[in-house]
């Protein structure tokens, strides 16, 4: 399942911002909503958020860049996240991460040249009793092993 996103559109962006701007402390709420609609937070949206919330561009940019979740450009068609935290390390996660990097030819935190797969580290999905864990486009996978990982990579490359 690939998430489908709308192309950036200023009017649509303004609608999304207006929808949430009345909440207290709305910056993160709006950034999440923008990313959910467009797959990333377009740079053009930052001054719009600032204006709506009566903040400076720098303040909104600062919030946007502080959090790991927000993207400044679209991810690949599929996003494969591998948990790199301790419980998954204890269960063989290091070797699986290295295998994924080798198979996809990219390091964690980057996208394959054909834009098909973005491989990312994640620090804990809370599935620590069925480690190692992964997430492919929002789908959770526990008890990851070489075979399951290889299948996920094939699925992501499709």
């Amino acid at each position: 399942m690939t998430a489908s996103y709308e192309p950036w559109d200023e009017t649509r962006g303004a609608e999304i911002i207006a929808e949430h701007a009345n909440q207290e402390g709305a910056t993160l709420v709006i950034l999440h909503a923008l990313q959910q609609a467009f797959g990333y937070v377009p740079e053009a949206a930052i001054p719009m958020v600032a204006k709506a919330l009566n903040l400076s561009r720098a303040e909104v940019h600062g919030v946007f860049t502080f959090y790991h979740d927000f993207r400044h450009k679209p991810a690949g068609r599929h996003v494969l996240k591998l948990c790199r935290a301790e419980a998954c390390q204890a269960a063989g996660g290091d070797a699986l991460a290295a295998r994924a990097e080798a198979k996809l030819g990219v390091s964690l935190g980057s996208t394959t040249p054909d834009d098909r797969v973005t491989l990312e580290p994640i620090y804990c999905l809370g599935l620590c009793a069925t480690a190692p864990s992964a997430m492919l486009d929002g789908r959770l996978i526990g008890r990851l092993d070489q075979k399951r990982l290889d299948a996920l990579i094939v699925e992501a490359q499709r």
Partner: protein, 518 residues
């Protein structure tokens, strides 16, 4: 008569195929013309048995697991004809791993339908709120204080004292904030309870609101927990509809409402002041304390900020009385702790028990040793900021003070087990690396110290001036421990120093002992 089956909708169960099993059961039953009803519950916390399928019988629920899609036909045969099955575990409540626990907070988790307010009420839900309403605010506060409940997020601060401070503060608005930014690796109790018994969290927060005079609460959930976000949002809607949120709570004159806010992948937002900044829509930069959030919290107003498990303990304390809760535990650690067993462990999961159980019992006995079958070498307790314990310290009882006395912490109750293939230099380096990735950047010891720590441990790994660099790391850890503003920089030294202390042999090349020539 239709078969009533229970399959977990917990993220941990879904990750190992619970959705597929539920679907296969429905389809196979339809093909056979067997009437079944599948209730999607939370998880019982026995993750090595997930996907677990339970069936209702006049003698109680019978469990089968771990069930895969391929097992579904044979499972339906066994259920329809009442014949034996290889994966039959017997009565769920009699499974020793569950039976040994003292489930006060997790009593309903895995049992009820987390989407059903009626199911929650039928299993004793909202009794705590009813009692709080009949006691009044002062007596409710006294109950929380008398229970000895301490913050389950890790700091262990007395919850009642925190509430009292907010109750006594004068302000036009006050807030209740639930810290559901459960970022520690090896912990998943918050996630489980939000997914498996969300009304419990709502009830606890509501009681807090009435007691301190707050009318609005926020639950800040990390974005890595989409299932918990969904479960909490659904429960909030149901609670509002049922008259348990909004105005005239439970028929009283009180008003209280809740909103879920989602984090954005910053570990440091689990620190309470950073979380408040994030809720206000800013960078999650830690605030200097004082002022305490109890005086000057969310939007500058008096705020009770507690962990999910702290709020989740409250309904029991009110419903059954402070004394009943406080009778469990040891020393100044009263009540029960939902302990999370994770990593390389045969029987991983959620084990709620009174404080006082030893680390060795938890790892060897309850956890069953490693899944790889190799000897346990190191156990990290309390998340990425917790110390690594060697076997020699397995007699440490699970208690805030006992762990502190051994330069460790129980934190949020996560235990991650490593076998003898672990390289403690890598674990020490990772602790510094994680701190460098997640540092909010406000204070120098954390921001710069963590990066220098990674570099210096790297040198040790490469064999460069090992003894000098070890001394440097120890010195750096002392600066971070005493000079950082919050627990991220302040506690990162725990895993590093404990690795150095208890697993020295990994860092220092073994000296070559020359044999005297005969």
């Amino acid at each position: 008569m239709s078969l009533r089956l229970f399959v977990s909708r917990d993220a941990g169960a879904i990750a190992v195929g619970a959705d597929e099993v539920a679907l296969a059961l429905e389809q196979a039953a339809a093909r056979r013309g067997v009437a079944i009803e599948i209730v999607r519950t939370g998880s019982r916390g026995m993750y090595w048995l997930e996907p677990l399928v339970e069936v209702a019988t006049p003698q109680g629920r019978i469990a089968f697991g771990p069930i895969t899609e391929a097992d579904v036909p044979s499972l339906l045969d066994a259920l329809s004809n009442n014949t034996p099955h290889l994966l039959r575990l017997g009565a769920t409540d009699e499974i020793p791993w569950l039976k040994r626990q003292t489930r006060l907070t997790f009593a309903r988790c895995g049992v009820i339908d987390p989407r059903s307010l009626d199911d929650y009420r039928a299993h004793g839900g909202y009794k705590g709120l009813e009692r709080a309403l009949s006691l009044g605010t002062d007596a409710t506060l006294d109950e929380i204080i008398a229970s000895g409940l301490r913050g389950r997020g890790g700091a262990g601060f007395p919850t009642g004292i925190k509430w009292k401070t907010v109750a006594q503060a004068k302000a036009d608005r006050k807030f209740i904030v639930c810290n559901a930014d459960e970022g520690d690796s090896g912990t998943f109790a918050d996630r489980m309870i939000m997914e498996g018994d969300p009304f419990l969290v709502i009830e606890g927060m509501t009681i807090a609101g009435l007691t301190v005079g707050a009318t609005k609460g926020y639950i800040y959930i990390r974005s890595e927990y989409p299932h918990a976000v969904e479960a909490m949002n659904a429960a909030i809607v149901a609670a509002r509809r049922g008259g348990y949120l909004g105005s005239k709570i439970g028929g009283s004159t009180y008003r209280f409402d809740l909103e879920v806010r989602v984090g954005a992948g910053a570990y440091v937002c689990g620190e309470e002041t950073s979380l408040l900044e994030s809720l206000e829509g800013r960078r999650g930069i830690v605030r200097a304390k004082p002022p305490l959030p109890a005086h000057h919290g969310l939007f500058g107003k008096p705020t009770v900020i507690n962990n999910v498990l702290s709020f989740a303990a409250v309904p029991f304390i009110l419903a059954e009385g402070a004394k009943t809760y406080a009778d469990y535990g040891m020393g100044r650690s009263r009540g029960t702790m939902p302990i999370q067993l994770a990593g390389n462990l045969r029987y991983g999961g959620l084990f709620e028990t009174a404080f006082g159980v030893t680390l060795g019992e938890l790892v060897d006995d309850i956890g069953g040793g490693t899944i790889t079958g190799r000897p346990v070498r190191a156990v990290q307790v309390g998340g990425p900021l917790g110390a690594y314990f060697p076997r020699a310290l397995f007699d440490t009882p699970f208690d805030y003070e006992a762990f502190a006395a051994r330069d460790g912490l129980i934190g949020h109750g996560g235990i991650v087990v490593f076998d003898d293939s672990v390289d403690m230099r890598r674990q020490a380096r990772f602790a510094m690396e994680f701190c460098a990735i997640e540092s909010c950047g406000k204070c120098t010891p954390c921001r710069i110290g963590s990066t220098r720590g990674v570099e210096t441990i790297e040198k040790i790994i490469n064999g460069e001036r090992v003894h000098e660099n070890l001394a440097l790391v120890e010195d750096l850890c002392s600066t971070m421990k005493f000079g950082s503003l919050c627990a991220l920089g302040g506690f990162t030294p725990y895993p590093v120093l404990s690795a150095l202390k208890h697993f020295r042999e990994d860092f220092v090349p073994v000296p070559i002992t020359l044999q005297a020539a005969e």
